[in-house]
């Protein structure tokens, strides 16, 4: 035993050294995630099982699923969830359709302005969502720049209702999410050898066929990453629906915030937060599985 241990000594030692390095590299991020993400989640989940006494506006220790039941039995709340999912899906599809051609051009261009294009794409991210939404309010309001210009040109009689509608929210979230989609797609398309597209052309595939048979399947990992990213961002959008949707328009993230701050109903707020997270994760996974199965067949 001792002999074998000695014989393998150096090997064991090196392995221990490696695992120490790995631990040292992983530890900071792991601790950060555990403290700042997992712990609040656990506490929030525990809160969501508590009871809320409206008269006293306070939380009472309990273990009940009443908050979850309340959400799913009240059409008011389920309608908000449905709206959120619908908007997130529409925004994600729109980002994909708008983003792919842009990402393709950016990935394939030989122009020396390529870096400028990339910077221009990222530039909107330098301005916070709330600030940007506030800007739009001045442009798209009934007396805003957009409507006054159209009226001045005589194209419309009365102002178009854009602000405080679902349209405004969808346009707003698309604008916020598009750079994420474009950048993700661009990096993936860039990694696809251009000659592969040309090979398809030379073998007789017109552009649409080449796209369907070659570019799309090869870009699929990036398409998945991009759609997941934009879908999650859209599901959890807060500032844009809050500012552009107006007081009557409801999505999930503002609802959670409202429960915590206005109603001080922490248990119900926690429950909604968890429902939002679960639905987002569930839909993302389902879409992934669906695409992968279709790809395999």
């Amino acid at each position: 035993m001792t002999d074998t241990a000695l014989a393998h000594g150096p090997v064991v030692e090196r392995r221990r050294g490696e695992s120490l390095t790995a631990t040292a590299l992983l530890a900071p991020a792991t601790i950060f995630v555990a403290l700042c993400l997992l712990a609040p989640l656990v506490i929030l989940f525990r809160y969501s099982l508590n009871e809320f006494v409206p008269t006293k506006k306070m939380m009472v220790e309990a273990v009940t699923v009443a908050n979850y039941v309340k959400f799913f039995t009240d059409p008011y709340y389920t309608a908000i969830l449905a709206t959120t999912v619908r908007i997130a899906v529409m925004v994600t599809l729109a980002c994909l359709i708008l983003g792919f051609p842009l990402a393709y051009v950016m990935a394939r261009t030989q122009s020396r302005f390529k870096n400028l294009l990339i910077i221009l794409t990222v530039l909107p991210l330098f301005v916070g969502n709330a600030v940007r939404a506030a800007g739009w309010m001045t442009i798209f309001g009934s007396k805003g720049f957009f409507n006054t210009t159209l009226q001045w040109l005589g194209l419309i009689d009365k102002p178009l209702e854009i602000m405080f509608t679902e349209k405004a929210v969808i346009i707003g979230i698309i604008a916020v999410n598009l750079p994420f989609m474009v950048l993700t797609l661009q990096s993936v398309i860039e990694s696809i050898d251009r000659a592969v597209e040309e090979a398809a052309f030379s073998l007789g595939a017109p552009p649409a066929t080449m796209f369907r048979r070659v570019l799309w399947p090869l870009a699929l990992p990036g398409i998945l990453a991009g759609t997941i990213l934009t879908f999650i961002l859209a599901m959890n959008a807060y500032a844009t629906p809050f500012l552009l949707g107006g007081p009557l328009f409801k999505m999930m993230a503002p609802l959670v915030y409202n429960q915590f701050t206005q109603q001080t109903n922490w248990p119900f707020g926690g429950a909604i937060a968890f429902i939002l997270m679960t639905v987002t994760l569930g839909l993302t996974l389902a879409a992934n599985l669906l695409i992968q199965r279709r790809r395999a067949s």
């Binding site: 050898d193 000659a195 592969v196 040309e198 090979a199 398809a200 052309f201 030379s202 073998l203 007789g204 595939a205 017109p206 066929t209 048979r213 070659v214 399947p217 090869l218």
Partner: protein, 354 residues
Amino acid sequence: MARLDLHGLSKRYGDFHAVREVTLEIDDGEFLVLLGPSGCGKTTTLRMVAGFIEPSAGNVRLAGQDVTQLPPWKRNAGMVFQSYALFPHLTVAQNVAFGLEMRKLPRADINKRVDEALALVRLGGYGGRLPRQLSGGQQQRVALARALAIRPDVLLLDEPLSNLDAKLRQEVRVEIHELQHQLGLTTVMVTHDQEEALTMADRLVVMNEGSVRQVGTQRDLYERPADRFVAGFVGRSTFLEGAVEAPGRFRTDGGLALACSGSGSGAKSGRGVLALRPERLQVAPAPITGLDNGLPGTVEFVSYLGALIDIHVRLSPADRLVVQIANREGGFAPEVGQSVHVSWPASAGLVFTE
């Protein structure tokens, strides 16, 4: 299979002429190689034939039909790319079947032709693999099979061997050449490797700075290079600067009077260069009688290449030339600093006047 005609083919990018007025006639079943340094326009020419680049002027006729305005997917040209460009998400068989599916062939025919094409490149049984599971040489052969399966009018090869290691390259070179002859394929290959070009081509086209410098067989290019560029690019040459004194007489800037009777030596006067092939020269301790030129010099540098030895000899302050000798047992092997005599027949001297 078919003939391919390029007429006045040009490509300009702003003020930059990538390809100027290329006119070539490639016979049915001929293997033509476009040879030149990088940036000479050979790849641009090939890509105009494939349809990836639209020419600024001129036209491309394939099998008698003007295809200049046709997109690549409407030309029946099989292309093998430098990076092979296999579809990484498709199996070997699916890669080869791709072009046949585009031609809407019945499934049974497709399978039959895929098997044929893979057998042709000795990859039968590899149909189910993914490209990444194959070696570089095998991927190269899949790319070839994919291009051949569509029975193209012309096969286009874009530096097809440059990603293979040296040993494999020699094998694949012979394979492609044999396959091309066996199938009687009209083929255009682009390369910057002159050895590759010389071993594979029926006819070569030397290009530089967008223009065709010379078209001919290996022997034409080597024995009768059209200009100084070709003389330096195909094979090697030492160039001695100077001027023509009279037909057959060349005086270098270093003052050496040399007899020459190779191509271009009929010029009567004017500045120019005398080109000498290193292997046509002889080096010995004393002048060799019977040769038209014999000059004393000093060995300045010796480069040992194994089978061959390069000897750099200074003949005058302005003139230095390279002599290549075979590395033979007991042969004369001069050392640096040694005084020697370099001799050559007048026929070895080629003259290019300005």
